[in-house]
Symmetry: C2
Subunit: 306 residues, 2 copies
């Protein structure tokens, strides 16, 4: 079958008019090349698991005490009207309470330092095989009995379509600020789904992100394709105490359910992108999204904080 | 404090204009009186657990083979237009697919026999301390990626308010027709919550059941009271293969989340009521609900099927 010019230009076409079969991933999962692969800090067992599943789970990576100041700082931010009324703060579609805050590492020194924690940064550099910068930081909050879920999606699909991220060479570090348990809407992932790019149907409207951050309507994979991937890879939902860490590949399918418990769930996300994978123009959207969703200015390689 | 005439007449007031503290349960949990309590089939360990938690879980109670014919029969019912267009069939509010079918034991001999299974009936008679009849039967279906959840509620609150069930002397037997796992929206319960009656706010409109069976708006406990009960008793979600059985007390608080997996979840519910607890007029609703929601005609004691 002859490829169209479009497909040759873009290996990951999406926001299409017609459904399209999942496309095999064309990028490595672990980007450190052979001679550097075993430099650490991750060993071959961890690297192979990351290649297979698309994520690594570190239960209790940080102490709960280390997490407490971040939680207090977020509570303070919630009381800062100028901030909560800004575009960086997204409200929950049903309860109206805070759902997400973007760009904390730009406004808080504590969060900035955490992005440069040597242990996280070491692993991320190894996985991405290069220096890295923060593409996006955010916190997702789910209050007790209130927090809505997030439908199944690949982050890369959105970052590629709407932010112009060229290739799959980014990783998210999610740090749990509260316990994540079976009932407060923990992150669910489909192991192995990062091996496939699932093109999505629907043209991206101009200000899509204003709606999509509340409840995603575009960039949602076809249910049958999703069912096939989940039937093959099953579903996992890592659970653990505050301070636990999840590293997940930018293209792994993930979702989370409503919080039906009284226990709040608050997870921090730092998205690390390779300095060799900086943003182009959006591949499937009319305009760029704001800086706090996809960094273009502050892309200097991160230096470790000691 | 002097009780009002209303409170003397009705020990479980609900659908109130003002919020009201939870009221301690006034009925026994195990109704078999002392001299009959140890007649079996449940032993004292099980009875004490049921008194403490409000439910008993029997993983793999029936073989999966025994369940298969019921699943096929339900699939046939789904193709029966006269049935699916009747009031006994409730559509999912978001997907439009079948959410619940009521009264299967009235239309199917297989289901009728299952309600009279000696092992179930033996346990239920012991828990209720009398002969029993079917107050309501239903199946709750959640298709993959589609089934909406059920908010936290006590069944007794609705049956008392809208059907006139006088006292807490009923038990639900829920039989899993499919696997119930962490991701397909299993039933969640708050252990110990059956010791409290949580009065709910809001007047019952005339045809409330037409909406409430799709998404419950009335008879929903106050979030703070719910949080207190869940913080004390925590939350449990029994999981297991098709054929597993859950017996739960009519006043235990329960809920279920959306099915975010590709795996359907189909659970059967038989509600057994004591023949000494037959329905009065509704305690907090203008009119009776239909027969398939609260039986008034067919209340003869069930005979065991061998």
């Amino acid at each position: 079958m002859a490829q169209t010019a479009e497909a040759i230009r873009d290996p990951y076409p999406t926001r299409l008019q017609q459904p399209h079969e999942p496309i095999p991933r064309m990028d490595p999962v672990v980007h450190a090349r052979s001679d550097r692969r075993w430099d650490g800090p991750l060993d071959e067992v961890a690297l192979s698991r990351y290649e297979r599943d698309g994520f690594l789970w570190f239960e209790g990576f940080f102490s709960q005490e280390r997490m407490a100041p971040f939680f207090s700082e977020l509570r303070e931010m919630a009381r800062d009207n100028a901030l909560t009324e800004s575009e960086q703060v997204i409200q929950d579609p049903s309860s109206g309470r805070i759902r997400s805050v973007f760009g904390m590492h730009e406004i808080s020194e504590n969060f900035d330092r955490l992005t440069r924690d040597p242990r996280i940064l070491g692993m991320v550099r190894q996985l991405l095989g290069s220096e890295v910068y923060i593409h996006q930081s955010r916190i997702n909050d789910k209050f007790g009995f209130q927090g809505s879920g997030f439908d199944w999606h690949s982050d890369f699909e959105t970052w590629h379509a709407e932010d112009g991220m060229p290739r799959m060479r980014a990783v998210s570090a999610s740090i749990m600020l509260t316990d994540n348990n079976e009932f407060n809407g923990p992150l669910m992932l489909i192991p192995g789904s990062h091996h496939w790019f699932v093109p999505c149907v629907g043209e991206t409207p101009e200000m899509n992100w204003k709606e999509s951050l509340k409840a995603q309507k575009l960039g949602v994979p076809d249910k049958d394709q999703l069912a096939q991937l989940a039937s093959k890879g099953s579903i996992q939902a890592p659970k653990g105490p505050a301070g636990s860490l999840l590293l997940f590949e930018c293209n792994v399918l993930h979702a989370s359910n409503e919080n039906m418990s009284p226990w709040p769930r608050s997870n921090l996300f730092f998205v690390y992108n390779s300095v060799d994978n900086k943003l182009d123009e959006p591949y499937a959207a009319p305009v760029r999204r704001p800086e706090f969703l996809g960094a273009r200015k502050n892309t200097k390689p991160l230096a470790m904080h000691d």
